[in-house]
Amino acid sequence: MVGFWTRFRRNRSAVLGLLILAFVILIAATAQIIFPEDPFRLAGQAMAPPGESGFLLGSDSLGRDVAAGMAHGAKTSLLIGLLATIVAVTVGVLMGALAGYYGGWIDDLLMRTTEMFQTIPSFIFAILLVAIMKPSIESIVIAIAVVSWPAVARLVRGEFLSLKNREFVQACHTLGMSDIRIMLGEILPNCLSPIIVIGSLMVATAILIESGLAFLGLGDPNIMSWGFQIGAGRTLLRSAWWVCTFPGIAILITVLAINLVGEGLNDALNPRLRERT
């Protein structure tokens, strides 16, 4: 663990990413305290520029506080990103593990299914799913998970394929260990590193997809999110630039931070890259 932190720290930008991410998490966690009011509440004068009429980052066309919206939106983004990733990784690991471990027709069946999902452009597929299921937090999480799991499945399948023929796994067979136990207890711990890395990067993608959906008006109408704010301020871009700009920057920085952390995790967890200078 100590070794892991030392290696992670070597990548300066990853540490920066971690700091930014920690800041975003802090804001999301304390949103209720900093902005106790409902972010949808009409707080005052409409279209007030940043710093005026008591709005730190200005207000939108209906007089809603942009800063409050961003703080509450951070919660939405991180929550959806995390939930969708957990679902996608779980499904992906399950599919990939079964396909890689058993091979044969199970592999054929699962991998052709995976490919079917991969042939559909993921964002359009997500829009379709949300439109069918009617926008809500759950449907967005499901849509993002459905378009994201194939990548995990492919990765895990590859890892399982190479690990299942390793001698330590064969040794477990000769001891009479059951398949489930070999998969979960022996092989899976050895491919955790790439799964953690792809998972961390997937959080960033999920946040982007969520913002995109909300921008198109397919977000949960009762929950404030960055994408929704941008969508609402889109028509005012020339008269009130701040409505779109600040949530946009928030998305940019958060996604960047998560990507940096993912890179750092990759460097720290991937032994083949450890010697790289």
């Binding site: 001698e167 330590f168 064969q170 040794a171 000769t174 001891l175 050895n190």
Partner: protein, 544 residues
Amino acid sequence: MSLLEITDLHIALPEGSQRPYAVEAANLHLAPNEILCVVGESGSGKSLTARAVMGLLPKPHVKVAKGAVNFQGEDLAAAPDARMRDIRGSEISMIFQEPMTALNPVMTIGKQIDEVFRFHAAMLGRERRDRALKLLDDVHLPDPTQIMSAYPHELSGGQRQRAMIAMALALDPKVLIADEPTTALDVTTQAQILKLIKEMQKAHDTGVLFITHDFGVVADIADRVAVMQHGRVVEEGPTAKILSSPEHPYTQSLMAAVPSLTPRPARPRSEDKVLEVKNLDKVYRSGGALFGLGKPAREVHAAEDVTLDLRRGETLGIVGESGSGKSTVARCIVRLHDADAGEIILDGADLRPLGRAALRPYRSKIQMVFQDPYASLNPRTRVGKIIALGPIIQGMSQQEAEDKARELLEIVGLDARAFDRFPHEFSGGQRQRIGVARALALEPQVLVADEPVSALDVSIQDQILKLLDEIREAMNLSMIFITHDLRVAAQVCDRLAVMRYGRVVEEGATATVFASPTHEYTKALLDAVPGKSWTPGSDTFAAQ
């Protein structure tokens, strides 16, 4: 006058390594028309010495810290990169251990040889082609024209190494560096390649710096020998002298560890049959269409009509070259692979048709020791748990299993404190001991060892073989011992089964097989053993 003179060579390792220098104060010299063998175990610095001569040290971590590599009055350690590029391939060239990775897989052999000429000499295309054809013919490759247009994967391991030698000798280099060029090859191929290197060296008056770990190879090929240990050259001298009367204690211990080719005295054979394998058949199929429909594209008959029997307390060796099916047989016996036909009778029951659940009670009776000590232990599991896992699965309580694991660690010569450590904290030999302990934890009747020592240095190999012997005695185990090394087989096995192309071609008591082999292939194998004229620990070696 030396061709190549290495004086006081120090190669520095990156900070934080186990030792500051990989090679320390090494002095070596190589005369024209001479083969100097540098022998040592892994980590002795022999390969780095060779790479330093070529200027191929892994930059920027590892570099020459001090000393000189004098090649015809020029210090290569200080030569600029441009000059080194000129020298490499034309004046000093190198052949590597693994010819498959040393050749470019997407270029034909002809093109790769052609490159050597294009980079170093001004020659017309036609002339280059003729020279390349002649070279391939010189290294005794059949049908050079066809080889020219072949890709590396289309050639066998021995042919690839021949092509590498042709490439290395293309421009008549003065020095040839061979870094374990035969380690990845089968014995019979190895014998041919050694002969070829010797022949080419004579024909071209080349000085050869030959890196190896195998004293048998040294006995066959070397004019002079330098022994390296921990980065230092501990002993150097003419082959006959070093092999018959080594002076340095390390050289002596190394040679004592080389197994002798004289089989050990036969022991009486028990009447009690522990394991019988009858008419075992295994075919590997690959390719085919979606969902396994359609005809498989490729079929390999890996084991055909294999019949063996193993008596109580005896060691049966299965020897053969790569692809002979010896590992397949081992894996079918422990049921890692499913054989297509035949019987595997253990304790009166045929294991072959049993399903996973039905097989479980038999698992504990037959256990396996694997080849690669690095791959055979789960890197994320503590040693104690690795050993205790088997008994726990078979129904022993956690506490009992852990006590047993501690006890076994002592038996295989490790400290019981190893219990809480991870596999990566141990050396190769120690890991192999852990692997043996894991196999013993279930108190098997039969131990199947698949090349258990071939990844280890000779001195470690010797210890593991002794350990296996002790354990077999103490626990009255029967053992199936897979090996490609006839020296090891001679020291361990009571009986031998020689396999080729999936079939057992000869079977009998070790001494009988060694003294009077009946099958052609067995004879060829015995003939190809490197250094057969030399018996370790005696001075019967006659200089060639």
